[in-house]
């Protein structure tokens, strides 16, 4: 293992982590403010990617495509908030699970109906394609570096939004005390729609950003959704800071585990079996991390309540 390889893997873990953060931030906000568990968050990720791919195909512009992903996911978010989710705030978690599960089915098959069964084409813009040489001789894809930058910028933006703006104060108040926010005279139903749309837009944005280097296809949101759940559980529900730290932890664990666990097992097993065992264990690494955090802190690293 050369130091260059290790640095590269750290960057990869970081890049994966910040993208997870975009997903997890929306989930944790929506849960923190409205007490809603949204399984359809992965579908919004997919909506963003499909919208971006469609717009990129029509206009050829990557940045228009990104804008489209934000708009489409936010619009989808508003639509499902107004027609479905709004009726579920007072409902039991069970109803929320079921209704958002139903939304997954509708979105997945709907996307296939509209866009067909084959993956869509969506690629990195020429100005961001190709590798770049980092100090220390590490060659790294420019686009991924840009993803890390964008993710960190969105993280800062969210921090600024929640800590420094009026709507942020309302969001934090809503997360802590729903009666209080009503007493402050805030239009709750509008606040909820705005937060839901914001969470949806973040998910859609992540879908588009990642879609450019992966395949844009039906069901692409499912694995990310479950990882984002793990992030939220680790970070603590309702905490943006927790989502950020959790996402980076999960990103690093997942990426580094996949590479280094087989190497570790090679120290005392024959290579074939070591690769097998290492890969099998690596696939469980983030869940084991989650288990450890739960034993240590049942309400997550930065969670206020269990």
């Amino acid at each position: 293992m050369s130091p260059i390889l290790i640095i590269e893997q750290l960057l990869n873990g970081l890049q994966f982590g910040v993208m997870l953060f975009l997903m997890a931030a929306g989930l944790t906000l929506i849960f923190g403010v409205m007490g809603l568990i949204n399984l359809a968050h992965g579908s919004l990720y997919m909506v963003g990617a499909f919208a971006a791919a469609a717009v990129a195909a029509a206009t050829g512009s990557f940045f228009l495509a990104l804008a489209a992903s934000l708009a489409a996911a936010a619009a989808a978010g508003v639509v499902i908030e107004v027609f479905v989710i709004r009726r579920l705030y007072r409902a039991a978690h069970l109803d929320q699970v079921l209704a958002t599960f139903a939304l997954i089915l509708i979105f997945a098959e709907g996307a296939r109906w509209v866009f067909g069964s084959f993956p869509l084409y969506f690629d990195v813009p020429p100005m961001l394609s190709g590798p770049i040489m980092l100090p220390g001789g590490v060659q790294y894809p420019l686009y991924r570096l840009a993803l890390i930058g964008v993710g960190l910028a969105v993280g800062c933006g969210l921090w600024w939004l929640t800590a420094r703006t009026r709507i942020g104060i309302q969001i934090r108040a809503g997360a802590n005390d729903r009666e209080m926010i009503a007493a402050l005279g805030v239009d709750i139903s509008r606040l909820y729609t705005v937060v839901f749309a914001l969470g949806a837009a973040l998910a859609g944005f992540a879908g588009a950003l990642v879609g450019a280097i992966q395949s844009v296809e039906v069901g692409m949101g499912d694995p990310v959704l479950i990882m984002a759940f793990v992030v939220v559980v680790i970070g603590g529900i309702g905490s943006i800071k927790g989502a950020f730290i959790g996402a980076i932890l999960v990103g690093l664990t997942d990426r580094l585990g996949g590479i280094f666990l087989p190497e570790v097992f090679k120290l005392f097993m024959e290579p074939g079996a070591a690769t097998q065992t290492g890969s099998a264990l690596a696939s469980m690494a983030i869940y084991i991390l989650m288990g450890v955090v739960l034993v240590w802190r049942p309400s997550g690293l930065f969670g206020a309540r269990a």
Binding site: E8, G130, P141, I213, Q214, V218, M220, T275, A280
Partner: protein
């Protein structure tokens, strides 16, 4: 209304009365992830049936949603309720393992248009199971042989951590004479290959062999192109099929892949197939479509000789493989798997269209190593 009902009832009666009709059950993936492959097989198959104008062949099509348990239930339905004579359609090896042994054990013929797991080619072969596509290893072996022809000496190889992935790497290694710079198994369904690409970069390999079907391959190719690593790629056709190339775009250009079919194989059957498929469905045919088309034509050729009720005669007719294949010459080996040419193709741009062009024949009349184990 009532007249209509009576009419359809009459047709139904006639339908059941005509005992010489052949019932074909097609279980394939038409919804969910990977539906594109099933749709291509279905469309290719039905194109052949329609072109032949055969009204004595009734095809019942069901969607397995790529779920093995659904596939098993559908095969129960086909056999117990519809009482089909022949089954076909399954795309995925794991679904084939769930359905094929039980079906052939119940006396039904099965013609595989895509999956060819090694377990069904060797000791687990069955006299009623015919594979019209390839044994799973074939394209990977061809990739290994191509690597020798291209004088590669040090390959980095990767595949998802599941049985077909392991078969792929085994297949490549079987014919590849060089050394391995690295061998990794990725997570099934993995979409980010940055870590693997970093390892490839650090490995000092002169070639990379990968088997990453479906969305995995798309992700890998895009990320590989962006990484600046310029070690040549080799892979089986699955990641370069016409449906996928549209999503990969220029990132795939120049990659060599192995296939038993391409749209520019020069024979009249193939030319007619490509033209009529494109005209009927408004898209270029894929590898899978050609396999569906060949499967149907093989079936038709056998039905012309004998009805499946006459199992021995029908089996012999299938074995003769007396039909015009889109691949040109086509014959079965002793284990009822194809013995055929495998080509190296290169991804090229024809106008705006990213597609494949044949470079050379990599393996001639290639069978599989499991045939010796097949004693039935």
């Amino acid at each position: 209304m009532i007249k209509k009902l009576l009419l359809s009832a009459a047709i139904a009666l006639v339908g059941t009365a005509a005992a010489s009709d052949v019932k074909v059950g097609m279980i394939t993936t038409l919804s969910g992830g990977g539906a594109g492959l099933g749709i291509d097989v279905r469309d290719g198959f039905m194109l052949a049936i329609t072109q032949a104008g055969r009204s004595d062949i009734e095809v019942i099509i069901e969607d397995d949603q790529r779920k093995p348990d659904i596939a098993v239930q559908l095969s129960d339905k086909m056999i117990q309720s519809e009482r089909v004579d022949v089954m076909t359609g399954i795309i995925w090896s794991n679904l084939a393992m769930a359905v094929v042994p039980a079906s052939t054990a119940q006396g039904v013929f099965y013609l595989s248009p895509n999956a060819g797991p090694s377990a069904l080619a060797g000791r687990g072969c069955h006299e009623n199971y015919f594979n019209v596509a390839w044994q799973n290893d074939a394209l990977h072996e061809a990739a290994g042989a191509y690597a020798n022809q291209a004088s590669f000496e040090k390959s980095f190889i990767l595949a998802p951590n599941y049985p077909a992935g392991k078969d792929a790497l085994t297949g490549y290694k079987r014919l590849f004479d060089g050394d391995l710079a690295g061998e990794i198994y990725t997570k099934l369904g993995q979409t980010d290959y940055a870590a693997e690409i970093a390892q490839i970069r650090a490995s000092g390999a002169d070639s990379v062999f990968f088997f990453l079907p479906g969305g995995m391959g798309i992700s890998f190719l895009k990320q590989y192109a962006a990484s600046g690593v310029d070690i040549p790629l080799v892979g089986p056709a699955f990641s370069f099929d016409q449906g996928i190339l549209g999503a990969v775009g220029d990132a795939a250009l120049g990659v060599v892949n192995t296939s038993q079919w391409n749209k520019d194989i020069d024979n009249p059957t193939n030319a007619a197939f490509v033209a009529s498929f494109t005209e009927t469905y408004g898209r270029l045919p894929s590898l899978y479509a050609s396999q569906g088309f060949d499967t149907a034509n093989l079936l038709i050729s056998a039905i012309d000789v004998a009805h499946p009720d006459d199992a021995d005669a029908f089996r012999a007719a299938l074995m003769a493989a007396d039909f015009d294949s889109t691949r040109g010459d086509f014959a079965f080996g002793s284990n009822r798997h194809p013995v055929q040419n495998i080509y190296a193709r290169e991804v090229v741009k024809e106008g705006d269209l990213v597609t494949n062009r044949i470079l050379s024949v990599t393996l001639e009349n290639h069978g599989d190593v499991y045939a010796a184990d097949c004693t039935r």
